[in-house]
Subunit: 255 residues, 4 copies
């Protein structure tokens, strides 16, 4: 196998498509969002598989059948006025510093091949605490994009996320911008402790307005409800634990 | 030395051989199994040594004579009706993410060179507790293989092993499948804490039925007996320790 | 993207320029110093950006606009008698052992391209305690440089810094010396615990005398004042903590 | 700089030279031994410097003058009947798995260039406790070498050192043997906790007999004396510490 291999699974003619990326990350927000789009757009066509020796040396199993770790690009010919979509997702980020760069360049190659010159990288931004009504933070390659995004509720806050954006999402803007893409990152606020379907939903809602499509959210809302129950149980357990841990004052008493 | 070097030690004409891999891993099940086959098939011929700069920079010593870390392929012309065998084993997995990919591709090159288009990767699946009668779990490259394997007792369980299969065993399916091999992974259940000759035996028993050969198990059974005594001693020691560790309740008393 | 990419942003004719490097490191002394020079020489021209897959896979954000991690070289045509300057800075060191070598070679390529054959690597040397009046330690590629540096107050102490100089600063001397550059490292003493604008100032003061330029220090002095207050608060907090921690003697009493 | 660069410092005609390697390792035995030979053979000529991007990105300082991390080969035309020597030493091992392989191949290239077909890798073997009269353990590329080495007191013990030999010393045997060198590793017993000049001396004494040269040991003996005092002080401190640590029984009493 070459270091990176693109498997052409199908060819589809798209009109002015937009690449939307959702790989694993904080709260799995990006991955949840793109997977939800794949479920809702039932006509999505798998067009490319990307294998790479910087992915973990691993197969996943589906009913006992092994599948080599890879990323996937699906094409969606949207029914409405909006642009067609290229949905990029997968189970893993690259395992090395250099790997993130080379993989991202490959993803951009594929986007170019299908005629895309716009892209959205989806992700989460950790707040450190449970968020009731998550906002969506934005980052762009050109200042001129800010206004359009603010119009649909995306927030631009100075110095957030602190430390910038890492991994493929960050590089899609960094490398994409240098290659002439108009790229934006949409980051849903999330605690950072749990997978967060609610945050994925608010990110998709922004995309819907920007790209003029519409999907159902029942499946995501159900998962969000489940996660809220999980979060509630965890909080309860933590409170019980804290009550039974001797405080600093108690410990000081020993000496 | 090149990054990977194949040393051709001998040439053997095989009829429709099957590659069987057993490198170090959980419970050392795969390695024990292939080493047992090598001991029982006394006519096995060492045909290839594989050196690689992703193996540890290390020599092992046998009576003071140094041998560079490598993997080995032995050829076995089986006496019965079954196919000939290519037995792959070694002391180490690759030391880097990319190394697993490149090594596995090399192993598949060798298999192809000898005309093999079927392979079995042997390994262990950790259960977290001592297992009296280990089952053999399976994974395959094509759904059509499942029935044949179930017929000889291999189990396919949804979501097991969790996390899929990592290392060379996983990639032999992942890369092998993409290169047209009919590949399967046979994983003996094992605690995950000790080397497990019993689990190696049940894996070989499955292979025997599939490939129509027959070996003696006395050596493995002796080692399994020894390991059971080791396990019993460890359990005894743990129980003694637990009695002398103050419980959580006791500790809470301090404050 | 290639492994390392040099983006030519502007071309400037310089007379006998000197490269001055200040990347992140101990006390951020080098980076602070070069950034201060960039602020004071308002006519500095950005001439080169250096991108590399050994930089973190990351973008930073400025008012929501993403910028791919890179190093930068600015050209300064100094007003006085002294040589022109090439100021090298950036937010990151290389993330791999080999990366440090390859990046440094690239920086030297750029210096050569602009006709430089002299360079100064700026950094900090950790003392482990707060320093009231930091000295500047020196290291050179040729013994003949020592006297000129000692004349402007640079100290050469046997065995300091212990362990030599690591990272790009070290390699600019190591690789630069082999390529024929006259290179020196100027290291301001610093505690090693905090960013240290005062140490950056004493390093620039040495450079001023060597290269016959003059800059204002008000901005650095203000930041140094702020850092002194931070240091005072930390010391206060540590003293309070130490009083409330049971001493070894107390703990021994438990048994 | 290339990944590995050999700098030809001088050319010397040697008759049938033997390569002797002593890089940092357990007890620094190998490095101490080769450095002692360099001090005693005053006529040694530096013939090659080896630079590599797998060495730490670092310069060392000698009177303020920076020197890029490298390994060195000195040539010694011995006065007696014995073969000439190529002495290989340096401050560092490679920093990566692959680096060990590539560096060792380079060292063997240099040995070949000077006409060597024999080599000795020197090192220490850790015993875990202070050793009064260290033995020298051996490892070889051909069984036929064992007798000659046993004749001068080298011991071959089954299964020692456990885990074989790692790093450049191991690979000089592993790769050297494959390239046709007659190679041996001589390992002085050493505690593993301290640099061990005494162990270096017993290793050199074996070499003297094998290669028919003779050096003075006063300098090593002085350093060995110093290290014995250091070891005595450490033991004393440890005993005092153990007396003041509450035993397990005491601690159990708390609950």
């Amino acid at each position: 196998m070459d270091d990176i291999e693109i498997e052409a699974v199908a060819e589809v003619d798209l009109s002015d498509p937009v690449l939307i990326e959702g790989l694993p990350g904080v709260g799995n927000v990006g991955k949840l969002a793109v997977e939800h789009l794949l479920e809702e757009f039932e006509e999505a066509t798998l067009v490319r598989r990307i294998y790479a020796d910087v992915f973990p040396p691993q197969v996943t199993l589906e009913s006992g059948v092994a599948e080599l770790t890879h990323a996937e690009v699906h094409a969606v010919e949207t029914p409405g006025e909006g642009p067609d979509l290229l949905l990029l997702t997968g189970d893993h980020q690259a395992q090395s510093n250099e790997g993130h760069y080379h993989l991202t360049d490959t993803f951009l190659d594929i986007a170019e091949e299908f005629g895309a010159d716009r892209l959205f990288a989806l992700g989460g931004v950790p707040t450190g605490e449970l968020v009731d009504e998550p906002s969506v933070l934005g980052a762009v390659t050109n200042e001129s994009q800010v206004e359009e995004l603010e119009d649909v509720g995306v927030e631009f806050r100075d110095g957030e996320p602190a430390g910038g954006i890492v991994g493929v999402s960050g590089l899609l803007l960094g490398l994409g911008g240098r290659r002439g893409f108009t790229a934006a990152c949409l980051m849903g606020e999330t605690s950072g402790y749990l997978v967060d379907p609610q945050s994925a939903q608010v990110v998709i809602e922004v995309l819907q307005e920007l790209l003029d499509f519409s999907v159902d959210f029942e499946a995501l809302e159900d998962r969000a409800e489940e996660m809220k129950e999980v979060a509630a149980k965890i909080q309860e357990m933590q409170q019980q634990q804290q009550q039974s841990i001797p405080s600093d004052d108690d410990l000081r008493y020993i000496g």
